[in-house]
Symmetry: C2
DNA sequence: GTCTATAAACTGATAGAC
DNA sequence: GTCTATCAGTTTATAGAC
């Protein structure tokens, strides 16, 4: 049996991928473990061979979502250096709002994390600091300070979170464009 | 029986007040109707004399939260004209993040609304347009345009939403201060 | 309009066969 | 490691007494 661990980790990854999508779409309490496992083509009894509880799954989903997030994708493609404009436009776009791409957990999981335990908050905080670092060091040439990066992160996350709650697609477009336009004013 | 309607509306308001606080703290799916009614000193059987479903309660809670929100409070006190600084600092403060004051539904309900039905999205959108109007017309003298108001709203809501998901109080303080500091740059 | 009682469905988690 | 079966608890919503 040369690769037993790998086989298990692949199943684990499949569960996490389903969890990220479902949690992002419907929220922690409105997703059952049965639904997650069904989505991953397994039965719900098998869940506890991979995670000890639903809360642990959520914490791991925060990290898993980070690896597949829109920004992680363009970071990999770019050899570590990105234009400021590319970062902002990749985040504040309709595809991300509608979750046609794997969503950033900072936007999709924020409210859930507020009402969950310390582990989830720790994971969220860790990912948030990661975004600040990207904004401060990887945005080509401009290098905003920590204060600018923080408010920029709030603007980006807020823009996506609010867009997801709005009804009218035209207003959503207007909001995303407004955030993109004003983002550059923040780092000056 | 001179005021039978009033009596009923007071009970209704009591239910809504409990609903706002609980939904904001724990989220739609993690609050049961029994819990709401218990908080309002009633039994859960009485719920359906006031609302037809939990989703209808949520929609009404969005509007009820608006009336008690931090901005509605300072608007009433100020004869309709507020300094831009006062608005931003009233919203982006620890008391609002920790929900020691009745919270703004745009921050507390955003993620829940994303996964709920059209009625909830309509209510959210309506309240959001109300915030834009306040930012555009009530902020003394400066009168930002719609684009500035939109990005300012995203910054304010994002700042509160992210703060609630973070672990470290010092980072939360830093984030709120950063958003306050950069808010004024947006409307210029 | 509020209560108690209950229906019908679903939840997270566990036990044991394979 | 995955399955089926099941437990005990909770959920929204309804029915009927007062």
């Amino acid at each position: 049996m040369p690769w037993p661990t790998t086989r298990k980790q692949e199943t684990r990854k499949k569960i996490l991928k389903s969890a990220v999508r479902l949690f992002a779409n419907k929220g922690f309490h409105n997703v059952s473990l049965g639904e997650v496992m069904r989505d991953a083509k397994l039965t719900h009894g098998a869940f506890y061979a991979h995670f000890s509880s639903k809360q642990e799954l959520y914490k791991e989903a925060v990290y898993a979502a980070t690896e597949d997030s829109p920004l992680a994708g363009i970071l990999r493609e770019s050899d570590g250096n990105l234009s400021f404009e590319k970062i902002v436009k990749t985040y504040l776009c309709e595809e991300h709002v509608e979750q046609k791409v794997s969503p950033c957990p900072l936007a999709a999981f924020a409210t859930d994390v507020s009402s969950l335990d310390g582990d989830a908050k720790n994971a969220y905080s860790h990912v948030f600091e990661g975004l600040l670092e990207i904004l401060q060091t990887r945005s080509g040439g401009e290098f905003p300070d920590r204060q600018s990066a923080m408010s920029l992160a709030a603007l980006m996350i807020g823009g996506v979170v609010v867009s997801r709650a709005l009804k009218d697609e035209e207003v959503i477009h207007e909001l995303l464009e407004a955030c993109i336009a004003k983002a550059s004013q923040i780092i000056k």
